[in-house]
């Protein structure tokens, strides 16, 4: 029997099977905003022509009288947009748009509701964030027939957009297209009580340079018509491909997601894999193909870690895009079931950038995509948690001192690099973590949001233990998946789990911890200020009968009164351990609540204190100087000599090399 036709039929039907795309399964999310989009990519004009149908369900108890859409592409229309102004109206991306006249726009040609009302005339741009009238990234559409509580509405749009010539995160360059934030997308209507909302309101910010998006869950059916020969990768599951003349239409379906992003290029080569039931599709330019193994290894690690710590990945597939060099503008991005990374072809094995990005963007599938916090307002909530787990995963699988760089003897771990980033800021106190993200104007946004949050969570891990923190994150994930939590929701879950585990050891809740770390800008620095060993003075005075001045018998053994003085030099305080080591190697560990500016531990006995160390396990990752955390009475003379001699030899070689010019 010839099995080939049957096999071919099976292969064709496989993508349509319920098991493959979970079509028809129980919805995972409330599916508030769903989209059907038919889009045609015109590579000659660099435009997209589309028809879009949006189905929106009113999740609140309010009657909603208007819709609000994000028109992200208008951020790159001119230098008057808030996005461009936040970039200072210049810089690499803006200059490139200017140079190539690569400005983009999005024009809604027709907008009708399901009752046939033409909404085009009523619609208008608003600027809810900054009143910048030059910004056209939010469109307000009044509805002639409001949407009652729990009811829904369908609107139909015809629109055209001009694709930017490599803007930030999206655009085209040569034959490479990366289409993020590419369609008119509804904001989030937050019912009263959601996050900061005291009453029902649209949360639809303008497009800002630092941060990207916040959206409701829904189902996306997207048909993308591209020139024949192009390979398309997208959020969601490929439903089929249809060829018509010189074009090919790729159909995708993504369920329970907050966004839909795609890429197209005639140069892509594909690598496919399946791991833990997830279909992985890697899209490369040919000269990066040798990196596939590194990517697959990293994504397997990330999938394993997340599945074991938070729960199984809830989607059926994942597309990983490795942009070409000229597509670097789209690197390191995360969208539902779709992530991008970055690499160059001769990257040494010891430089782990591709692995770091793969891991980071995959963790975002959990924190950012499924737990859909508001990145525009609280970027730390997805980026910070993701960055922390990126460091955990990288350090666990690639070594805590080699997980970022391990080249020619230079080694740097991921957590180490976060610490270096944060404390390397010219002013690490410039802003608190919980600062409204789009209002960050300082260049420190990235470091504060990513690295400081990572150190804060690492400190929490040090205090409460990795298991407890993981349990808290698992609870947070379970409780808030397919919903929109705020920062307070995370902190209350963490407090709850830590209290369950330790009782009142850390207080009734962890507000003291988060107040300092999230909402404060203080620094943490503990130091061992001094060690002193003085002979214990002989006892003198009246100890027995009031008239008896006989001195008590003195021991012949020399005794010492030793003191160890500790200082809290920074503003932050955390409970910590102090290890005191005595002559002969005996060591004791003391607990200190870390609050007082100064603390003295006193010991009496035959052994002198030889060294003291605050936080010997280095649980307090936020401590800015680990060198002054310890003090030894005996200086490390051999070490000093070693470094001096190393420097001497190094200087000799530098001098001899330079003398070649003489």
């Amino acid at each position: 029997m010839d099995w080939k036709p049957l096999l071919a039929l099976f292969t064709l039907l496989l993508p349509l099977s319920p098991g493959f795309c979970r079509a028809g399964g129980q919805p995972l999310s409330p599916r508030i905003a769903s989209y059907d989009i038919q889009a045609r990519l015109d590579t000659a004009r660099k435009k997209v022509y589309a028809h879009q149908s949006v189905h929106w369900k009113n999740p609140s108890a309010d009657t909603v009288r208007e819709l609000r859409f994000h028109l992200y592409y208008n951020a790159f229309k001119n230098t008057g947009s808030s996005f461009a102004q936040e970039l200072g109206g210049s810089g690499l991306f803006i200059d490139a748009l200017k140079e190539h006249c690569g400005w983009s726009w999005m024009d809604i040609r027709s907008l009708k509701d399901e009752y046939g009302n033409d909404l085009t005339r009523q619609m208008g741009y608003i600027q809810p964030d900054d009143d910048n009238e030059g910004d056209q990234t939010v469109l307000r559409v009044p509805l002639p027939r409001p949407v009652p509580p729990g009811d829904s509405i369908r609107v139909e749009l015809d629109w055209v957009s001009k694709i930017p010539h490599w803007a930030i995160r999206t655009g085209y360059n040569l034959s490479y297209y990366f289409m993020a934030q590419w369609f008119p997308k509804l904001g989030v209507y937050e019912p009263a009580g959601t996050r900061f909302a005291e009453k029902g309101q649209w949360n639809c910010h303008q497009y800002h340079a630092n941060v990207e998006y916040y959206a409701d869950f829904g189902v996306y059916n997207v048909a993308l018509t591209v020139p024949k020969g192009f390979t398309v990768g997208a959020s969601g599951v490929l439903q089929g491909k249809k060829q018509e003349g010189d074009t090919q239409t790729w159909s995708f379906r993504a369920e329970d997601v907050i966004d839909f992003t795609w890429t197209a290029s005639p140069e892509y080569v594909e690598v496919e894999d399946e791991y833990r039931g997830i279909r992985l599709r890697l899209l490369f330019y040919p000269y990066h193909l040798h990196l596939a193994e590194r990517y697959l290894k990293a994504i397997h690690y990330a999938i394993d870690f997340c599945a074991e710590h938070f729960g199984p990945y809830p989607y059926p597939c994942l597309t990983i895009v490795d942009p070409p060099l000229h597509g670097t503008f789209s690197s390191a991005m995360e969208y539902p079931m779709f992530i991008s990374t970055a690499a160059v072809c001769l990257l040494p094995e010891g430089v782990k950038t591709p692995e770091i990005l793969i891991v980071h963007e995959f963790v975002h599938q959990y924190f950012g995509q499924v737990v859909a916090s508001n990145e525009q307002e609280e970027a730390w909530l997805d980026e910070g948690i993701t960055n922390y787990y990126e460091a955990r995963i990288m350090d666990e699988y690639y070594g805590s001192q080699t997980s970022t760089v391990d080249v020619l003897g230079f080694r740097m771990g991921n957590m180490e690099s976060n610490r270096a980033d944060y404390f390397g800021l010219s002013d690490p106190q410039v802003s608190e973590i919980a600062h409204t993200s789009w209002l960050f104007r300082e260049e420190s946004f990235h470091t504060i949001t990513y690295s400081k949050t990572t150190l804060l969570l690492h400190t929490l891990e040090g205090l409460a233990g990795a298991e407890t923190l993981d349990e808290a994150m698992r609870t947070y994930f379970e409780r808030w998946k397919f919903r929109h939590p705020g920062g307070a929701d995370l902190t209350s879950v963490v407090s709850e789990v830590v209290f369950q585990k330790y009782g009142p050891l850390f207080g009734e809740n962890l507000d003291w911890f988060f107040e300092q770390g999230l909402y404060g800008t203080g620094m943490c620095d503990y130091a061992v200020a001094a060690i002193s060993n003085k002979p214990k003075p002989a006892s003198a005075g009246i100890f027995g009968e009031l008239d008896d001045c006989t001195q008590p018998a003195q021991s012949h053994e020399q005794a010492y009164r030793s003191t160890v003085t500790l200082h809290r030099l920074g503003e932050l305080y955390f409970p910590l351990d102090v290890r005191i080591t005595f002559e002969g190697g005996r060591a004791v560990t003391e607990q200190w609540d870390g609050r007082a500016r100064s603390k003295v531990f006193t010991y009496e006995g035959p052994e002198k204190v030889v060294s003291a160390e605050i936080d010997p396990e280095q649980n307090i990752a936020l401590d800015k100087n680990l060198i002054n955390n310890s003090l030894s009475l005996e200086p490390e003379r051999a070490g000093v000599r070693k470094r001096m001699l190393q420097f001497l030899v190094w200087m000799q070689n530098v001098m001899l090399s330079l003398s070649m010019l003489a």
Binding site: N173, L174, Y285, Y287, P324, L325, H326, T328, C345, L346, Q401, G409, F410, R411, M412, G413, E416, S417, R419, A420, F423, G424, S611, E613, K624, N625, L626, I627, N628, N629, S630, L631, S632, L633, P635, E636, R637, A638, G639, V640, R641, K642, R643, M644, L645, Q646, F647, L648, V649, M651, Q652, N653, V654, M655, L656, L658, S659, M660, L661, A662
Partner: protein, 294 residues
């Protein structure tokens, strides 16, 4: 075969002038010691009593390094600046030494005397210095030329304008070896220009330099082969050093220091071998058997 004979003569010259070899090595050690000594006190005062410092010897410790540079970077920066100062001073001193070396090794039959060495150094100092500046400029020009070619080949080194990394890689593969060859040629020319300047003993350098260049190109095969032998010996020394340092326990810091001194002394020796062999070859090619007496 002249190149091989020159190479062997270079070794003979270096060994024959072992006192000069030793002296030059000690001068290098002295300068490096002046630069490195302040570090000892600085480390003792700042981090010497920290347990983190003791632990930093277990391997490369990025966290310690960053904390050290952040917290004590200012003091360390001052030491580094001082070290840069000593390096520049050493460079100038090397110019002086060069005149001494060349005037001594050209007089092969004469026994080594420090007085001849210093006299030669002082006599040729300005000439050697000018030559060093000219050839430094020449090195700069070569670098700028290849930098320009690389820049053009990679469309202004603009990644967003390139289809792939291929043009960058192609440019590196093509231009880097060419640049290295040309830079080596400039070093070679510099050596012979110095030898020629000492031999003719004239104040003006333009014509002697041109003559040296002409000599190099006329006898390019022999001269290049000799240079290649010297470069190969240097590479061998580096490989040997690397191999020994890998097999040595990094905790044995005094052993590492001695090995480092072996390397430094080796490098000084190879410099003498290079100059000695080039001088011999030069004398053979021009049929000059010794420098005019100072």
């Amino acid at each position: 075969m002249k190149a091989f004979t020159a190479y062997l003569t270079g070794w003979k010259t270096a060994l024959q002038h072992w006192r000069m070899w030793l002296g030059l090595y000690l001068i290098t050690l002295l300068f490096a010691l002046l630069a490195a000594l302040p570090l000892r006190g600085f480390l003792s005062k700042t981090v010497g009593q920290s347990l983190a410092f003791s632990r930093s010897f277990e391997g490369f410790d990025y966290t310690f390094l960053r904390d050290f540079l952040r917290e004590y970077g200012q003091g360390f920066g001052a030491i580094m600046n001082q070290a840069v100062g000593y390096t520049i001073l050493y460079l100038l001193f090397s110019v002086l030494l060069m005149g001494g070396i060349l005037s001594v090794i050209g007089q092969r039959e004469r026994a080594f005397r420090w007085v001849d060495f210093w006299q030669g150094g002082l006599r040729f100092f300005w000439r050697m210095l000018r030559l060093a500046v000219y050839f430094l400029l020449l090195h700069g020009l070569v670098l700028a030329f290849f930098g320009f070619l690389f820049y053009r080949a990679t469309k202004g080194f603009a990644p967003f304008e390139l289809e792939s990394e291929a043009p960058i890689l192609r440019a590196i593969r093509l231009f880097l070896p060419l640049y290295l060859l040309l830079a080596i040629l400039v070093f070679m020319l510099h050596d012979y220009a110095k030898i020629h300047a000492v031999q003719v003993g004239r104040r003006w350098l333009f014509r002697p330099t041109l003559r040296a260049i002409r000599l190099v190109f006329r006898h390019f095969g022999k001269i290049a082969l000799l240079y290649l032998l010297n470069v190969a010996t240097f590479a061998l020394l580096m490989v040997f050093y690397w191999w020994l340092s890998e097999s040595l326990n990094s905790g044995a810091y005094f052993g590492m220091f001695l090995l480092g001194q072996g390397l430094a002394a080796g490098r000084v020796g190879l410099k003498l071998v290079n100059l000695g062999s080039a001088t011999w070859l030069y004398q053979q090619l021009l049929n000059v058997h010794r420098w005019p007496s100072p």
